[in-house]
Symmetry: C2
Subunit: 205 residues, 2 copies
DNA sequence: CGCTTAAACGGACCGAGGTCCGCTTCTATT
DNA sequence: AATAGAAGCGGACCTCGGTCCGTTTAAGCG
């Protein structure tokens, strides 16, 4: 049984059918349109389906759930942000001092999180960003912390540094407590300084 | 126009009717029963109503929404916890060194958050604890930080210290990344040490 | 004790998320 | 080009959160 064409092994999912792909972009565009014109609450699965001119089942097939659709909408932004971090201009992108990159990270994350707060909130996982997005950002922060010579449990420190920038926390501070965004950012920078600062002389138990 | 009986001013809401009060406790008990026996997903509003032997509308009248019901269920725990902080035994309660109280705070909050994760997640506000609960805890942490001589934007530092203990973050770490609880707690203590530690010599911009 | 009234009650009803299954359409293969 | 089979499609259908309104009932008052 000769089978000369061996498994390409990548792309194991048999590739999306052309009509499916067409519908996917149509649906994303429709959803974006609805978000922009009528607000996020108008983005019902049926409305999106109708706007895209397909059946409701198709929306669920493509995106699994409403949360999945929201996550897909966020994906564009998230990807762009990752690109900016990996290969964009400093200080967010490579080339700047790690400390400046860290500050830039905080600022840009704060901004985009607030900007897409409702999308994030509706994207499930209790308002936290998707796993993939989270992982990338966490990795980046770990890298910067390492670069800055921080010692300790880096994954957890990175997480601690990112936690105050998560949507629910920011929501509480900005929308409920009414804090100014600038002040929140200052506070975050202070936190970063305390984490990075070599003052960790282990005086406490 | 004499009006000798002056406004008692407290209790301005005309006090709950007896049948209403009876139904409230019946509903809470029914909901607790359902949570314990069948898991949180079985706690539909209709199921709770049926279990308590009342109509569905009554559940909504008492608790506003499903999230409200969950919050009410959490309230018991939360109140007990607040009491423990305010007048329970050290180190969580008063009497111990502020630093020890802070560590105890972290531990107990970590524990209860994980324990009631699903309730919290279903209690709305994107998985963050209710405003009242949050405010109390934030106040407590601020107090402890002040006691420890921490300077800076205390409200924000307190928030930064509490953020890693919020349910969504812990969910990510423990349930998805598979981190051990002990390690998370260690990490949190390290964070606290860095915040409290006087090393904040303002070396960074 | 009966009356009044405001509150509470119940369950029919609605809308939206999510599932299912018979039908249609694409794609690969010969 | 014809065909087989998988993938996609659509919309009826289900469940559940949330609303509404006609009916019932508790509580204060004469």
């Amino acid at each position: 049984m000769p089978d000369p064409v061996l498994l390409p092994m990548a792309d194991q999912r048999p590739r999306e059918r052309s009509d499916a792909a067409r519908n996917r972009v149509a649906l994303l565009e429709a959803a974006t349109r609805l978000v922009d014109h009528c607000g996020i609450d108008a983005v019902t699965m049926e409305a999106v389906a109708a706007e895209a001119g397909v059946g409701k089942g198709t929306v669920f097939r493509r995106f699994e759930s409403r949360a999945g659709l929201m996550a897909a909408l966020l994906d564009h932004t998230e990807t762009a942000w990752q690109t900016a971090v990996m290969s964009g201009p400093p200080p967010l992108g490579p080339g700047a001092d790690p400390w400046d990159r860290l500050l830039a990270f905080g600022g840009s994350r704060l901004e985009t999180t607030l900007q897409h707060a409702d999308l994030i909130r509706n994207a499930g996982r209790a308002g936290v960003r998707s796993i993939a997005a989270y992982s990338f950002a966490a990795l980046h922060v770990r890298y910067l912390l390492a670069e800055l010579g921080v010692t300790g449990d880096l994954p957890l420190l990175a997480s601690a540094l990112m936690a105050p920038l998560e949507a629910p926390v920011l929501d509480q501070q900005v929308r409920i407590d009414g804090l100014q965004v600038d002040r929140v950012l200052e506070g975050w920078a202070d936190l970063a300084r305390r984490i990075v600062s070599p003052g960790g002389g282990a005086t406490r138990t």
